[in-house]
C-alpha cells in the first residue's frame, strides 16, 4: 500500500508550485527594440495586411518593425478605452472605427497635424474620408479601412420587371413596393434596426440623403442642433415607412450587418442600402444563392434637395497615435507607409476597404470588385458621422439614447415627430451641454 503524501510534503509542493507560477507571471515581457512599434489591431485588419506580410515588407524597406497585438471586438474597444485613460504607453498605434468612437477620448490621442507638417502623407489629396477623423481643424487619424453605404440590388429582378435603378428615395420605395408585391417571399428593402450604432448608421444615410444634418456649424462652440428640422423629420418618416408598409423582412428590430448579408445571400431581399465592404460576401458563389445576380449603385437621394446622389456617413477605421506613446515619430512613419498608395492597393486586394482614389482607378482593383466606380463616387460624396462634424464628445452616450428614439419610430411605438424631437434634445443636452 502506498505511503501517501504527508502534510509537510504537501506544503512543500504547494509552496514551490505557487512560487513558480508567481515567478513566471512576474517575468517581464521582452522589451520592444528601438526600431519597433506596438500596434493594437483587430484580427480582420491583420488579415487585410496579408496576415503580417505587409508589415514584413515594411520592415524590409524601412527597418521599422511592428509588434501586432490582435484582439477581437468588443474586448478591443473595452481594453483600448481603459489603456488610453490610464495613459498607458503600451501601444504606439491603435486603430478604431469612427462609428463607435467617443470623442471624449481624443484628449488621450495625439493630434497628427504637427507630424503631418513635418513629414506629410504620401499624396494626401488622394485620401478620401479624412473629414470623418477630424474634430474642427485637428486631424486625429488617417483612414485605412473605409466603406460607404451603397445600394445593393438584384439586377435579375429589375430586368424581369423592367425596373430602373432608383435615383431618388421615392423611386427606391416604389421599387420596394413593386417587388414585395410581385415576388413571393422577397422583400423590397432592408434596414438595420437593432438597438445599437448599426441602426443609427443606417438612418444617417437617409438623413444625409434628405439633406439633413446634426449641427448647423462644424464649430461646436457656435453650433445649433438641426437634427429635427423638416429634412430630419422627413428622413425619419421615410425610414420608418419602410416597415409600416411591410417592405422589410420580419425581425428588423434585431437586424444588423450580418442579417443584411444573410438575407441578401438567401435571396430574401431584392434591394438594400448597406456597406460596400459586403459586396464580397453577398456575391460569394460558395455562400450566396444570388451570386452573379447582383449589381450596385449610389444610394438614392430625396427629391428637392439639390443632391446628385445620396450621401452616406463616412465610416471606417483610422490609425491613431496615443498621446502616451514614446515612439510617435516611428509610429507616424509606420502610418505613412501603411497608408501609401501601394499599401492601399495591397490591402484592398486582400478584402480591405480602400481609402485612396487612385486605388479605385487601378486596373487590379477594378478587376477585383465590380463596383469600384460606385464605391469611389459614394466615398467622395460621403459626410462625417455627425454631419458636419467628425467625432463628438460622449458619442457613445448620444448613440445609445438616440437609437432608442429612432427605433421607437421604426417600430411604430412613437410618432416620428416626437422621436426626432427627443433625439435632437438628447444631442443638444449631451454634446452642446
Amino acid at each position: 500500500m502506498g505511503k501517501g503524501v504527508t502534510r509537510r510534503e504537501f506544503l512543500k509542493i504547494a509552496g514551490a508550485g505557487t512560487a513558480a507560477v508567481a515567478g513566471l507571471s512576474a517575468y517581464p515581457q521582452k522589451a520592444l527594440a528601438q526600431n519597433e512599434v506596438s500596434w493594437l489591431m483587430h484580427p480582420v485588419h491583420f488579415a487585410q495586411m496579408g496576415k503580417g506580410e505587409l508589415l514584413e515588407k515594411m520592415a524590409a524597406e524601412t527597418g521599422i518593425k511592428v509588434k501586432a497585438v490582435q484582439m477581437p471586438f468588443p474586448q478591443y474597444r473595452e481594453k483600448l478605452a481603459i489603456l488610453l485613460r490610464q495613459g498607458s504607453s503600451d501601444f504606439d498605434i491603435v486603430g478604431f472605427s469612427n462609428s463607435w468612437w467617443d470623442g471624449s477620448l481624443n484628449e488621450y490621442l495625439e493630434p497628427l497635424n504637427g507630424l503631418m507638417q513635418k513629414k506629410p502623407l504620401v499624396n494626401p489629396a488622394d485620401i478620401l474620408s479624412m473629414d470623418g477623423f477630424k474634430v474642427g481643424d485637428q486631424i486625429f487619424a488617417v483612414p485605412y479601412r473605409i466603406g460607404p453605404m451603397i445600394l445593393h440590388y438584384r439586377k435579375d429582378i429589375y430586368k424581369k420587371y423592367g425596373l430602373k435603378v432608383p435615383k431618388t428615395m421615392e423611386e427606391y420605395r416604389e421599387n420596394a413596393r413593386f417587388i414585395t408585391k410581385k415576388e413571393t417571399g422577397v422583400f423590397g428593402a432592408f434596414v438595420m434596426g437593432e438597438q445599437t450604432f448599426f441602426s443609427l448608421w443606417d438612418f444617417n444615410t437617409y438623413l444625409f440623403s434628405y439633406g439633413g444634418a446634426y449641427f448647423d456649424n462644424p464649430d461646436l462652440k457656435k453650433a445649433k442642433v438641426i437634427l429635427n428640422n423638416q429634412k430630419g423629420l422627413d428622413a425619419l418618416k421615410f425610414w420608418s415607412s419602410l416597415r409600416e408598409e411591410n417592405l422589410l423582412p420580419p425581425g428588423v428590430l434585431s437586424a444588423t450587418w450580418d442579417t443584411f448579408i444573410t438575407n441578401m445571400q438567401q435571396g430574401k431581399i431584392a434591394q438594400g442600402i448597406n456597406w460596400s465592404v459586403y459586396i464580397g460576401p453577398v456575391n460569394d458563389p460558395s455562400k450566396s444563392k444570388v451570386a452573379g445576380f447582383l449589381d450596385w449603385a449610389l444610394p438614392p437621394y430625396a427629391e428637392g434637395t439639390g443632391l446628385s446622389c445620396g450621401i452616406s456617413a463616412s465610416s471606417g477605421w483610422g490609425l491613431y497615435i496615443p498621446k502616451a506613446s514614446k515612439k510617435k515619430e516611428l509610429a507616424w512613419e509606420t502610418i505613412r507607409y501603411i497608408t501609401n498608395p501601394q499599401s492601399d492597393i495591397y490591402m484592398a486586394l486582400k478584402g480591405g476597404g480602400p481609402f485612396r482614389g487612385s486605388t479605385f482607378s487601378s486596373p487590379e482593383y477594378k478587376k477585383f470588385t465590380p463596383a469600384t466606380d460606385v464605391i469611389k463616387t459614394a466615398l467622395e460624396n460621403s459626410a462625417p458621422m455627425w454631419r458636419p462634424v467628425g467625432t463628438i464628445r460622449n458619442a457613445s452616450e448620444v448613440v445609445d439614447k438616440v437609437v432608442i428614439e429612432i427605433t421607437s419610430a421604426l417600430a411604430g411605438k412613437k410618432p416620428p415627430k416626437d422621436a426626432i424631437d427627443k433625439a435632437a434634445e438628447i444631442v443638444k443636452n449631451v454634446v452642446l451641454g
Binding site: L253, S254, D400, A411
Partner: protein, 280 residues
Amino acid sequence: MKRPWLLVLPSFILLVIVLLGPELHGVYISFFRDKEFVGLRNYQNLLKEADFYFTLWNSFLFTFLSVGLELVLGFGIALLLDRKTRGKRITRSLAIVPFIVTPVIGGFAWKMMLDTNYGILNYFLTFFGFPMGTIEWLSSPNLAMLAVIVADAWVNTPFVTLILLAGLQALPQSPYEAAKVDGASYWFTFKRITIPLLMPAILVAVIFRLVFAFREFTTIWVMTQGGPLNSTYVLAMYLYKNMFLFFKDNYSAAIGVIMLILTFLISVPLMVKMYAEIKS
C-alpha cells in the same frame, strides 16, 4: 496541530485581497468624479435617472421569472433523475450539458435558433400553420424578454437540478415508508414530506440563482444587447454601458454598489430562513 488556522491563512488573505479589494476600491471611487471628491452625488444622480429604475424593473422581472422557471424545471428533472431507471448515468450527464456550455455560446445558439427568418424554432412552427417569420422572438419588445429568460433557464436549470438531486438522494427513507404504510398518495407525500425535507437544498439553489440572475449580463447582451426598445435592458448592462461605453467609471462604481446592496437584500433573508430550516 496547535494553530490549524495558520494553514488556511494564506488562502484566506488571498481571497480577501482578490474578492474584497476590488469591492472596496469600487466603493471608494463611487464617491469621486474625475478624481474630485463629490460625496454622494453619483448616487443622487443615479437615483434621479429614469434608466436606473427601468433597468432595475427589468432586472427584477428577469430574475424572478427565470429563477422561477429554473426551479420548476430543475425540480421536475431532479425528480425524474432520482428514479431508479436504466441509463440513469447517461441521462444525468446529458441533463447537465447546458450547464457546461459557456453563456456566450449558449446565447449565440439561442439567438440563431430564435432567428425570425432562419431560426429552427420558427421552422418547426411552420408545421403548425405559422409561416416562417411570423413570430419575431428577438425583434418584438413583448417577446424578447421571454426569449432571454428561456435561454437563461436552459443554461442554468442543470445547476438547480444538481443541487436538488443531491438533496433528494440524501433524504431519509423512513418518512416515505411510513407514508406508504398509511396509504398516502404521491402528491401528499411530495407536498408534506419531500418539499419540507428538501427546503434547505431548495433555498441554496434559489439563493445562488437569484444572486446570479440579478447580475446576469452575458446571455442577454449576446442575444439582444438590451433591445429591442430597451425591453431587455437590465441593470448589469446599464453598469457595463456607463463604464465601457460612456467612460463614467465613478458613476458605474455607484451602480455596482447599489447592485451589491440589492443583492444582499435579496439573499440575506433567504439565507436566514435557510439556516433556520437547517437548524429545525
